[in-house]
Symmetry: C2
Subunit: 469 residues, 2 copies
């Protein structure tokens, strides 16, 4: 059963009142002269109709071959959700049919969520959602737990709010439960107890790692024991890739899995273990359909979703009507099955691109003893770890400072016309903490065509040759 | 010259750092393998094309007669701004061509803004913008100045953040400068000095009043003297209506004004006086084109806009790409002149509707000595003031409590199938303050057709007859 966790809300979230003006809507009846709300009439809207072209499921030829007559789908907006209602002020939870579609999808993907009292609200994307989460659960001076390497922008959001960022140790399988338990057991007296754990559990940014089911269970148990919220930010959840198989052993024509096989292959969400209702899941369409939707969603226990709705009423109100309309009509035409086909096709595309990146990295960097190519099974990123102490002139040239070597590699690489991100940009360093001599670079296999991708990896290998002289 | 007002920024705004990940974009060159940013390739976007139907300027037949072949405009998105760039992650200030169009429009409308160092950023609507303003300029415990009657939702946003709301007296011309000056002169020791003034200066919600130019100048001078930010929230700026002329004297076929006449008729923005760079202007397309755009803009001095950009990078990122694309293509096809024609047509429509509301109110309520019909020259709202002490049984039935009478009118009116909003819902009451015996109801002439509107006013008159017995 869902626990009452309202004590974890922030001062701001606790203080939000219901809007009187929103409650008055109940009196809007056909025979009533409703002069209460300042809504413009649809006849003064600037737009009369919208149509768009998308692709028709099942996307069997992959996603690169864009539409031709046989696989294109032309959709007139308003067929399923009237244009005039989509362009009007809307409820803070988002248009009902779109919300219902995503909820049904959620049930398909995550099965029976332990917390049977969950609900869903649309966001303006996960960046917005994360900021809203912080305002809903934290006050200035509070502590939160973050992965030792984490998405820099998400950390910036928290730092600007005066939060105390405490790191969780990670390895190639993400957060290490034993280490997390130890951190909490030995929590420093006088430092505020952490309100929440922030994690990108699948295809983590920057490491590319994915937390396996067993670890998720253990982490959840720790969170439950210490009364901490888990925020799982899952933009890459549907970029869970086929296992990496070395090029020589790869079976090129792999059959597309059935819906059942596909769904069974996905790592379970923290929601699966969430008996207390302490998991806040952030989903996003940015990596799946297009960043420009600026639509995502939050799943959480109902009382939390209600607090988010009160927040959104005084911030974004709801995602853009244009985006909601087009997104909804697309999903409705595809259907749940068509949407799963899209996700499977996307997995195939990204698996291929990951293969290009890793094949090239292994063939150009694999023989360097001081280099580790970390192979991701989800997301958009891969990383190369480098042992700085292996540099022949680490002391003389870099004064034993891993950051100095990292910076040299970064700049030399740019001079070689290849741009990767230094790992230190993502690292959370606690006061007085000594830096590891293991440096890291993050590349993405998402943003370029395969030729440029392979070229970028080769140039990075050349850079290392140059710098390690 | 713009002053350095950075001391007015909040802790959160001061703490925001530039995103390293955003600075790396400078290395993205055609011959570079750019593996730094996790952007999906446009070939994996779900949409290939979007088109929409709007109306062709100059909208001479008004806005109710929706498009027919002669006045419709079918637009293919991507002609002026590529679809693939609109649907990608974008800069936090919004797509450049759209921003430039709105800036040019701003120069047309507001002429030479005193602060020549201004800039503009797109928002997810003014509700979002106001919340961002509060996070950028206020900390928990700070004071802000608000109109005695103000938009309830905007007040809620501030209250939840633990701000101290101090009221400014208003009359039928909005904020009373002398009274404001007195409030600041006699500021209570120990109470934090106010950071900002929040005002809806044109077609205020709920009162419908507009602050005239001379008062704006005086209010600006006071703000400058006491080092206070002015936030002008202007959703109704382009709903400045023709002057109300009694029905019997009205000239029905009034000529549409030229662009010059139209622009000259608009009350000047606080920007006109803003030599210091202390005005933050919030604009919105919600009341002009459709609420579903969820696009507005903030105009302010450049260093403030830069702080908003850092904020948006970690919240909304930018308005929805679908909305930006469709909005931009529409405005670009219309051109600056076509957009002014739209605004003029809109003024005609709303002037007519205001006339219906006021004609009906004057004819049904005008003879009641205890009632004042307040005639608005801007916005969507009109108000009726009622002297509670004139009620024949004010003491016995309502215990001399104006709120009890207000509530009776509210409920009786709903029973009569007419819904108006009680003025007390908008009133900001300071501790220990006695309530005025003047009660008020707000109606809107925007949300219904003219028949229903007239019917709603008549029913309100009947309600008063019933209650005042």
């Amino acid at each position: 059963m869902t626990k009452d966790l309202s004590h974890l809300l922030s001062l701001e979230a606790k203080a939000r009142n219901n809007s009187l003006l929103k409650t008055i809507a109940q009196y809007k009846q056909p025979d009533t002269a409703f002069l209460a709300s300042g809504l413009p009439l649809p006849e003064y809207f600037a737009w009369e109709s919208i149509s768009f072209k998308t692709r028709k499921p099942p996307f069997e030829d992959g996603l690169k071959a864009f539409s031709n007559e046989s696989n294109e789908l032309v959709v007139e907006v308003g067929d399923k959700l009237p244009l005039s209602s989509g362009l009007q002020y809307a409820s803070a939870t988002g248009p009902k049919p779109l919300v219902e579609f995503i909820k049904e999808h959620t049930r398909l993907v995550h099965g029976d969520i332990s917390n049977d009292d969950w609900d869903l609200i649309l966001t303006a994307g996960s960046t917005h959602a994360w900021e809203a989460v912080l305002r809903t659960f934290t006050d200035r001076g509070d502590s939160i737990l973050v992965e030792k390497y984490a998405f820099a922008s998400a950390l910036e959001t928290a730092r600007a709010k005066g939060l105390n960022l405490v790191t969780m140790d990670i390895d190639s399988h993400g957060i290490i439960p034993e280490s997390l338990a130890k951190t909490l057991e030995n929590w420093e007296e006088g430092v505020k107890y952490p309100k929440l754990i922030y994690t990108v559990p699948t295809g983590q940014n920057p490491t590319g790692s994915t937390i396996p089911e067993e670890r998720r269970k253990l982490i959840y148990e720790i969170a439950s024991k210490y009364d901490i919220i888990i925020v799982e930010d899952e933009p890459y959840y549907f970029l869970q890739l086929e296992d990496y198989v070395e090029e020589s052993n790869r079976n090129v024509s792999s059959r597309r899995p059935s819906d059942e096989e596909f769904l069974a292959s996905l790592v379970p969400s923290f929601l699966k273990f969430d008996v207390d209702g302490r998991v806040i899941r952030l989903d996003s369409f940015s990596k799946i359909l297009a960043p420009g939707t600026r639509i995502g969603s939050i799943i959480a226990q109902k009382p939390f979703i209600e607090r988010f709705a009160r927040d959104f009423e005084t911030t974004i109100q709801n995602p853009s009507g244009f985006a909601s309309l087009i997104l909804y009509e697309t999903l409705a035409y595809w259907g749940q099955d068509g949407y799963l086909q899209w996700l499977k096709a996307l997995r195939e595309e990204y698996s291929n691109k990951r293969n290009v990146a890793i094949d090239t990295a292994l063939s150009t960097l694999g023989d360097k003893p001081f280099v580790t190519v970390n192979i991701p099974n989800a997301g958009m990123f891969f990383t190369i770890s480098i042992d700085a102490t292996a540099h022949p002139h680490f002391t003389e040239r870099y004064n034993n400072d891993p950051l100095a070597l990292e910076d040299d590699i970064y700049r030399t690489n740019i001079a070689n016309k290849s741009v990767w991100v230094p790992g230190s940009w993502f690292e959370v360093v606690q006061d007085g903490e000594e830096r590891s001599p293991l440096i890291m670079f993050r590349g993405t296999f998402a943003a370029t065509d395969e030729e440029t991708l392979a070229e970028g990896v080769k140039r990075f290998a050349q850079t290392l040759d140059q710098v390690f002289k």
